[in-house]
Symmetry: C2
Subunit: 636 residues, 2 copies
């Protein structure tokens, strides 16, 4: 028996088998419903309201009695028994357009200054040739004439290749264009391919796209390959989120669901095509003139992009199919640029250290410096790289989605309506800054760091992350235990209080503890302490709002002078763009990927100890955080 | 209006539009009818007999009144006006099976000794790897594990690549095969491709096919790439003959007919597939285990194979699309070997000096010798190469199809029923040897050389190629002028006299004159005389029967001691096989192709002079042929 499910406010209807979950129905209908745990009933994010019809819900502690009475249920735990009308409330929706524009596009896709200059030598070049027509005395073949023309302009490489597709058309093309043609040369591994031949001089129009495929956000830059100028930036959420919010749940989806891998693959391809479409439209560039796409992403994202089997990434001993993947024709995976255009990926190091990290290292330039530096990428996975020009070692710790709003009662991603900054004044008032113009709907990672730090300073919570039960501030006992009301319902965009619960605090402390412990374990594994660091590079969309003092205060970052921290923005896309524009940069990132060693934390007993010690604010061991201690003492 | 045309003796029927030619109808019906000129009414080979129905024939001088009365017409000049019954007489048919077997396969496909030994290092190698399963301590990616395994066995190359197809399947394949896999490595230009991964150890089964794509005959060898042994040989006529017997008429067909190029392409692909099918069946080898195909052919044949536009090959200044074509996947052009198997072509030098010649030079080894050598390939085009280890220069002259039976009244290819040897005894009796067991049906090139030489010695013809009108021997006046009856009708398989006409002699003398003049012009262009030659290599199916003394006597070959001539059989396929078995040999043929310069004869006034001088038997200038003169004087 099939049932019709109508989703509000989108007013989209879908037919599903009776017994299907509402979450699956929403997926089929193309309606976005938040879900972090991938449908396992653990995250409590897929809250929906059943307005009409019969359902059967499995019990959950993630909803209050009051909410259940109002018709709230978790979409993943609720089966459709009849035709339904289901409302997806604002807090469960992906607000706004899928493609971020304006301020957000700038935030996620923004152009960072390239810290290291490389020779301008793009991976795709268009060379205009005015060839002498053949004669009996000069009777080179058409292809050799092209090669001679290229060599005459200084374009000669040890291995040059071209495909049958081009050769079949070459004779006619040369003669119809009166021997004036433009050759597109594309770097393909250790070879250079004659990608296409065009009549006349089209060398002025040659574009590339750099893409950062993040687990949560995909950003893309359109680059003029002739000038190196960035012509536009776009970003959007990764639509794969509907299959699971972190890489592990998506790999499980790919493993267990029919056509799971194909769906994840199709999803990221569509996202990238949408971004490219928006970029070329905005810049008034022909898709045909986009000849190279350079992607950086974590290893799982690259597996999805190329539809490679990701299942062993999540199984010990965590082995990807490849860290360095071949350059392919973009059309092979369905990416719509020039039909012969190439697609390359920045090489990664291992299952949990991908090309996004090596690209970020390239962008930071730490691999060229004498001095010791630390690189921290703050995402759902926290990656940490330590090293200098002679060596690089990296590790990865599952920080969880807290910094992106996951696993936190009122958490949300850094999008419209999110509290991104917060201060609690000396007289006990909370002042917040919201992304966009509306009322607050929740709190994002940077806001959460501020909120926790401010509550700690104000004495609302203690160093264990427990809420002080002395009736101070807006503390109350909720269904989950004690909670702090940051914003009362009448001031929010959802009509619900924005609160932080003790459970939220515990989750958050585990996240920050994981990153700090990862960095600390890596340092001491190699016999260093944080004081030995010359610079700490911080990468991520996150990094743009991070209040370093607060991040130190809660023990997310080590207690070093603020001047030692450098925010490099989205290091992944900056590095990908540098590769696109310079073979030298690509060579360097390949070399640093080979050089970088991976240190597996999950099986290291020292990491578990460090992690336990880091589950306090800022840390169990206060000597490590003298400035934090001083600050807290000043406030008391 | 459509008409039905029934062809005898095949008893095949086809429907065609009224007004279509019988030749086109035969082509549609898949019935082979001889045609050298490609349907222009010039060669007179497409003789058919209309048994029933109405036709309209354009006038021709190529049929006798008697023949016209009997219903003979030229298929290319005759339009279908009603339903027809058409007989294809025996002299117009391609006798026997399309695939040559037994003696003929040996003749065309025979294994020649490799004159130069090269290191056994085939273009495709299968390497069995027993990989250590990954662990946390040894967590290379699947692909890097393969690379390490290959390097451990000594297989490491500067540029190694693999395709997405393989990567998508790699993770599962490695685990399901318990980390025991066989990798096929294929040389692809300057790179090595990981062509396929197979579970378990399949390294014992790795085969290649070498193919010589001749204008008239296609030969193929199946080679065990592990041992270098030739497992089988096959040959068949090039089915493209039905579109024209020489390269120029086929290029015209490709240019002028709808889908002409596609048809020529499909034809050669089908022929090669048929040969490969026969080879693997005979040797009990799986098609899947054939991983590399190495082709040698003249430049036009390679254009047809790859479906590259050949039209500029026949137009001054005679420019091919490419002399050195990329290695492709055989499946890209429809060749059925392993679906990932590769196809390479021996590089050529120019429009009229192809990879068949460079392969032949490789096989001869003349490019490695100090001494000066001449290489003569006797085909429809006569190619001549002069040089030594320091330099090579080649030229090409259109010899016409006389050596293959074309343009000669009773000429035929060296197939069943052809007179291949002939002697005229002192007492005036003709003794001949026929290929196969039947009665003679015509005369092939080697028989023609013998016949002309013997008639010259016997005084039946004079040095101008004119038939002596003194009533000697079996001389009579025919419709075309004087003719010599070699075999009277009652002794032939066709019921018609086998004759040689004065027109035939003129055609033949032009052919032999072209080859001699080409060789002589090339020699003197470089300041050499034939006496400077250490060795003359002769290549071609032709070469197997060539009577050197007779060839000298008529002035086809220079008058040198017979010991200086070396027959190397089919140099093209021998060279292709050498390349297949040795990267070193391929490297050498690439180098010699680059090194070889082309000397264009068609515009050289000296060649025309030399050609005129060579239009006598043996030559205008008798001092050049002292042994021939001595022999002729002895006979008188």
């Amino acid at each position: 028996m099939t049932c019709r499910v109508r989703f509000l406010p989108d007013d989209v209807e879908v037919e599903v088998e009776r017994g299907e979950t509402i979450l699956r129905a929403a997926e089929r209908a193309g309606v976005y419903v938040n879900s972090i745990c991938g449908g396992e009933g653990l995250c409590g994010k897929c809250r929906v309201i059943v307005k009409e019809g019969d359902v059967r819900s499995r019990p959950t502690a993630l909803l209050s009695r009051e909410e259940i009475r109002k018709g709230y249920c978790l979409a993943c735990l609720t089966e459709v028994l009849s035709d339904l009308v289901v409302e997806v409330p604002v807090e469960s929706r992906l607000e706004g357009r899928p493609v971020l524009v304006g301020e957000e596009a700038v935030r996620f896709g923004r152009i960072s200054p390239k810290l290291v200059p490389y020779k301008h030598d793009p991976l795709s070049k268009k060379v205009f040739l005015e060839l002498p027509p053949p004669s009996l005395e000069d009777n080179l073949s058409d292809l050799d004439r092209i090669y001679r023309g290229l060599a005459g302009k200084g374009y000669s490489y040890p291995v040059m290749q071209t495909g049958l597709f081009n050769l079949k058309r070459l004779a006619r093309l040369l003669r119809e264009s009166d021997w004036k043609v433009t050759v597109t040369l594309g770097r393909r591994g250790g070879t250079v391919e004659l990608v296409q031949f065009e009549p006349g001089d089209t060398s002025g129009d040659n574009y590339g796209v750099a893409v950062d495929i993040g687990t949560t956000t995909i950003a893309a830059h359109l680059v003029d390959l002739n000038t190196g100028r960035t012509l536009g930036t776009q970003a959007r959420y990764n639509s794969q989120i509907k299959y699971g919010e972190d890489v592990i749940s998506r790999i499980i989806y790919a493993d267990n669901e029919e056509d799971g891998l194909a769906k994840l693959h199709g999803s990221v391809v569509k996202d990238i095509n949408d971004l490219i479409g928006a970029l070329v439209e905005e810049a008034d560039v022909h898709l045909h003139d986009v000849t190279y796409l350079m992607c950086a992403g974590n290893t799982t994202m690259i597996h999805f992009l190329l539809e490679m089997d990701p299942s062993n990434i999540r199984r010990e001993p965590y082995i990807p199919t490849a860290n360095s993947v071949p350059v392919i024709r973009a059309a092979e995976v369905g990416i719509a640029i020039n039909g012969r255009g190439l697609l390359g990926c920045v090489p990664g190091v291992g299952s949990y250290v991908g090309g996004d990290i090596t690209a970020g290292i390239l962008a930071s330039g730490m691999h060229r410096r004498e001095e010791l530096s630390l690189y921290i990428d703050m995402g759902t996975n926290g990656e940490v790289v330590l090293g200098n020009k002679d060596w690089l070692i990296c590790c990865s710790a599952s920080a969880g989605p807290a910094f992106e709003g996951g696993g936190i009662r009122c958490g949300m991603r850094a999008t419209e309506g999110a509290i991104e900054k917060m201060v609690i004044t000396e007289d006990g008032r909370a002042i917040w800054k919201v992304i966009g113009k509306g009322k607050p709907r929740g709190i994002c990672g940077s806001g959460l760091i501020d909120a926790v730090a401010e509550m700690l300073k104000a004495g609302v919570i203690n160093r264990s992350g427990k809420i002080e039960r002395d009736g101070r501030w807006n503390v109350r006992e909720g269904e989950d235990g004690y909670e702090v009301v940051l914003v009362p319902a009448e001031e929010t965009g959802t009509g619900r209080d924005i609160v932080i619960t003790e459970a939220d605090l515990a989750t958050f402390i585990r996240s920050k503890g994981a990153i700090y412990a990862a960095a600390n374990t890596l340092m001491s594994h190699l016999g260093f302490s944080f004081e030995d660091l010359d610079t700490v590079y911080i990468s991520g969309g996150f990094g743009n709002y991070l209040d370093v003092q607060n991040a130190i205060l809660i023990g997310l970052l080590p207690d070093l002078p603020p001047g030692k921290f450098k925010f490099i923005g989205n290091g992944s896309i900056t590095g990908a763009e540098m590769c696109l524009l310079s073979e030298e940069a690509l060579g360097e990132v390949e070399e640093l990927a080979r050089k970088m060693t991976y240190f597996e934390l999950s099986t290291d007993p020292k990491f578990m100890d460090e992690f336990s010690l880091a589950l306090f604010l800022p840390h169990t061991n206060l000597e490590k955080f003298p400035s934090a201690v001083a600050l807290l003492e000043r406030r008391r």
